[in-house]
Amino acid sequence: MSRLLKKRETLLFVIIAVMVAIFATRAQDFATPGNLAAIFNDTSILIILALAQMTVILTKSIDLSVAANLAFTGMAIAMMNAAYPDLPLIVLILAAILIGAFLGAINGFLVWALEIPPIVVTLGTLTIYRGMAFVLSGGEWVNAHQMTPIFLNVPRTVILGMPVLSWAAIIIVAIIYMLLKYTQFGRSTYAAGGNATAAVYAGIDVGWTKFLAFVLSGALAGLASYLWVSRYAVAYVDIASGFELDSVAACVIGGISIAGGVGSVIGTVLGALFLGVIKNALPVIGISPFTQMAISGTVIILAVVFNARRERNRGRIILRDKAAAESPAEVAA
């Protein structure tokens, strides 16, 4: 129990709960289940992108191209939908995932095979992918009336009281949780990012793990692109601009270490929800739109400060009694 309380995730959850409670005093129905579900639904895409980003960050990389990937892939499938309205939706969704994964694989390949630092690679592909979205569309928009009703309606169809969009996020959260916790690849991401040398000693191919993480990130960005385009019923070059930094921010708030190897799915989801709650709450409680940016900046800084406080290097603990005193779990064991 005391261990549960000490966990960052629990604390973040409490903070979010307190925030919701405070907002509820300013806007009566803010804390109603319906509204909270709406906030979750609204944050779904960010959650998916943040999980994509998290997987990459765990391997000690960063993917600044997620949003550009989303823009390109979204444009591509929206155009497919407009041009061939008869294509079944599932084909489009698969196409989105595949195109996204392919773009992710390009990033991954450059990181893996050429060992170019991930930040440089994705800084480059960030502009390239968005530029390609422009080239692909010639700058034209794909508008709602050009998209098929099924393409538009699926994400907001309500199943068991929740829209498909929310379900998509929940399923992705579950899949990524299982993937990271119960598969060899998942554990390899932690190992490769946490201590690359030790990972090599344990027989883990660090470069390959990074490659896979980028492919996964791309695939999730591809899936998110469908959700995005259908939700907002429009595709244009600038969609989701700036989301790469939001996804990083969600990870950072959720306690994912930018140095790799540390972090949890729950943390990331909470980090994304934290941003989601703030973004949704500020307009509702009537905070001037002009102060929102400063507030989110402050929140990010505070989150980083807070996370760092908890993670201070504790040294090697040579003195026996200190070692014992500082790891109560072993005493209990």
Binding site: Y182, R187, A191, D205, L319, A329
Partner: protein, 510 residues
């Protein structure tokens, strides 16, 4: 002697065929030939001791056997079949497992995962079975007489506990060949006994074991065969019990040990550095000693005993919680390395690559780093002065390098160490702290470093020398401070220095 080893199996009187043979292995690093055409064989149910000085190439061989390095030449034969290890997993698949010298583990993962990462038990759905993993980890640790909880994170463990985890990890792999690279270095006698019981068990199961240690008593206790490495070459092998220790030592160092340490007797002067009741929150406690002019104070202990931490706090890297420091009678507060350097205390770190040098930068820039204030004018660099200073110490230390502007990283370990020492001598210090000054450097450089240390002492410099090597400690020191688990375990005069007393003090039991 070398040619005799071209047929590796010959020397061993054993009926069994080797499980694993390595033939004509060479491994070249930039600047060093770590292994030069070595051959070695491992037999079922036998413990083979791999013996050699620091830097002889033992760990390099281990890394080749575990698929971490791919040798430049040579072949590995398992069960009569030629094998190439493409990566570490390939070696595990063939049945090779190892306790590596450095604990290469994951701070942020749990103990259980550290033990099973890469070969975790799976459920029916091929997913990782955490429950089974933790319970098997618990059993493994239990067999080592440890009750570490497998669900806590590695970063919460002490050094010795981490070594136990590393051992458990090696044992968790169903292997036929078990390699142990200095597994006992951080363990107390009781823990060593537990380990040896396990080794006996492995022997009984017919596994082949390669055991590396610098402690002869342990080797004679556990090993059947031996191979001796010197300077990257296999220089002898045979049955350990039938070979006297002196012969092995002669093989190891290629000379008689007696005069290996050119200690110059100097008149020891008055106190220079007085340390009183130095304490750190988690690393060490109540350390007191006095260092005198011209004295070499050896600091001995098991790996992880807190020696480096003590010295780093004297140098201002970490903050002590309490205690007093006096330099030449003046009380001194050191908050940063800059303070220490200013006061005349310098520290040659143990991990040259990580703490001592900026490897991609040129030799001369590394050398002048702490002395820039002297070589520059008004904050502007003066290349000519830098080269002059670097040349002075390069020549004094007999540095071998193509030019002063080549990156330090291209030098051999010994020459790198000379650059670090030169860099600190250039600051004209009063006290120099040497942390494992000959770790991992070749024998020629090693003697040069020893000679140099003696000369420095003779010039009136006060020296603190951390070393894990008994011969070095005994051969070089005027007095020896022994540490055990962060505490002071004794301070011995030169006349009382014997391997037995030091080891007894360091491990806390005989």
């Amino acid at each position: 002697m070398n040619t005799a080893l071209q047929q590796p199996v010959a020397g061993f009187k054993t009926a069994d065929a080797a499980i694993l043979e390595m033939r004509g292995i060479s491994q070249i690093f930039p600047g060093v030939k770590a292994l030069d055409n070595v051959s070695i064989a491992l037999y079922p149910g036998k413990v083979t001791a791999l013996i050699g000085e620091n830097g002889a190439g033992k760990s390099t061989l281990v890394k080749i056997l575990t698929g971490i390095y791919r040798p430049n030449e040579g072949e590995i034969i398992v069960d009569g079949k030629l094998i190439t290890f493409a990566n570490a997993q390939a070696a595990i698949d063939v049945g090779v497992t190892a306790i590596h010298q450095e604990t290469v583990l994951f701070d942020e993962l749990t103990v259980g995962e550290n033990i099973f990462l890469g070969h975790a038990p799976r459920t029916r759905f091929r997913t990782i079975d955490w429950k089974l993993m933790n319970s098997r980890s618990k059993e493994l640790l239990h067999s080592l007489e440890s009750n570490i909880d497998p669900t806590i994170r590695l970063k919460d463990l002490s050094i010795a506990q981490r070594h136990l985890v590393a051992i458990a990890r090696a044992l968790s792999i169903e292997a036929r060949i078990v390699i142990m690279d200095e597994p006992t270095a951080a363990l107390s006698r009781k823990e060593i006994d537990d380990l040896f019981r396990i080794v006996e068990g492995l022997k009984a199961q017919g596994k082949a074991i390669l055991f590396i240690s610098h402690k002869f008593d342990e080797l004679y206790e556990i090993a059947d065969n031996f191979v001796v490495f010197r300077d990257g070459r296999a220089v002898g092998h045979g049955q350990l019990k039938e070979t006297p220790q002196d012969d092995i030592v002669r093989l190891m160092v290629g000379r008689d040990v007696e005069n290996a340490f050119p200690k110059i007797d100097v008149a020891i002067g008055g106190p220079v550095l007085q340390v009183e009741k130095y304490c750190h929150r988690t690393e060490f406690r109540d350390i007191s000693f006095t260092l005198r002019k011209g004295e070499i104070l050896g600091v001995y202990g098991l790996i992880g005993a807190g020696r480096s931490e003590l010295c780093q706090s004297l140098f201002g890297i970490t903050k002590p919680a309490s205690g007093k420091l006096r330099l030449e009678g003046q009380e001194l507060a050191i908050h940063s390395p800059l303070d220490a350097i200013g006061a005349g205390i310098v520290y040659v770190p143990e991990e040259r690559g990580r703490h001592g040098l900026a490897l991609p930068m040129p030799i001369y820039q590394n050398m002048t780093l702490p002395s820039l204030a002297r070589t520059s004018r008004k904050g502007f660099l003066k290349a000519a002065n830098e080269f002059a200073l670097a040349r002075k110490y390069a020549e004094r230390l007999d540095l071998r390098a193509a030019a002063l502007s080549v990156p330090v990283g291209t030098l051999s370990g010994g020459n790198q160490q000379k650059v670090v020492i030169g860099k600190w001598l250039a600051t004209k210090p009063k006290v120099i702290i040497l942390d494992e000054p000959t770790k991992g450097i070749d024998i020629g450089s090693k003697a040069a470093v020893h000679g140099f240390i003696s000369e420095l002492a003779a010039e009136g410099l006060s020296i603190i020398m951390i070393s894990s090597e008994l011969p070095e400690i005994i051969g070089m020191s005027d007095r020896v401070l022994v540490m055990k688990e962060g505490l002071m375990a004794g301070l011995f005069e030169r006349k009382d220095l014997t391997p037995e007393t030091l080891v007894r003090a360091a491990t806390g039991n005989a």
